[in-house]
Symmetry: C2
Subunit: 94 residues, 2 copies
DNA sequence: TAAATTTGGTTTATAATGTAAACTATTTTA
DNA sequence: TAAAATAGTTTACATTATAAACCAAATTTA
């Protein structure tokens, strides 16, 4: 095959946006990611789960005062996957 | 929204590979595209239809000797869509 | 020359994916 | 205290992707 496989987990607009966001910061809260990506809470929740299950991000649930607080950060595995995805993608768009 | 929309028609591995191929040539035959992309004939047939219905490519059916011959080429609309997609994508990966 | 295989596809059924709507639980505000 | 807001999760549905089954003609093989 002349075209490299594009990691299907990253080849999704919302999940890619999340990874793109997280790669630039130490960590980010659910609400912040939601606002930056424009996603609905439900959709974001599902996609964060998928990234988390793949080990691409880590998700920590705690409380800010008495409200739930979900904090996400990219993992080493996630950084590697993102970089590989970008390299593969360049083959398609350059 | 801070992330631009990614044209869903182009944000698909196979359709993107097809467009990537076609943008570099005058035209290409079904079998050639199939081999270059590694797609199955059925999947390719469906995806070419979608690109064609969107006006991103033109598909010509003729005969090579007595065998059917499907030839594809990218349209101006397709080139523009591809370029816009690439620009939007860069926001995610740079 | 009849049967099997290949070529070049299309159609269709199913699996996978994405997404919004509905829901839960708590908290704040009027 | 009733209504609305916050912070999410669950679930049902719509869309998409894909492979398998199919078709018609041509070619090869026995």
């Amino acid at each position: 095959m002349s075209f490299a496989q594009l990691d299907p987990l990253l080849h999704s607009q919302l999940r890619l946006a999340v990874m793109s966001l997280l790669i630039g910061v130490d960590s980010a809260e659910f609400v912040f990611i939601k606002e930056k990506t424009g996603a609905t809470a439900g959709n974001l929740s599902v996609q964060l789960d998928k990234l988390s299950n793949a080990g691409y991000i880590s998700v920590t649930k705690s409380f800010k005062g008495k409200k739930p607080l979900t904090t996400c950060s990219i993992t080493k595995v996630g950084i590697k996957a993102f970089e590989e995805y970008v390299n593969a993608l360049k083959q398609y768009i350059e």
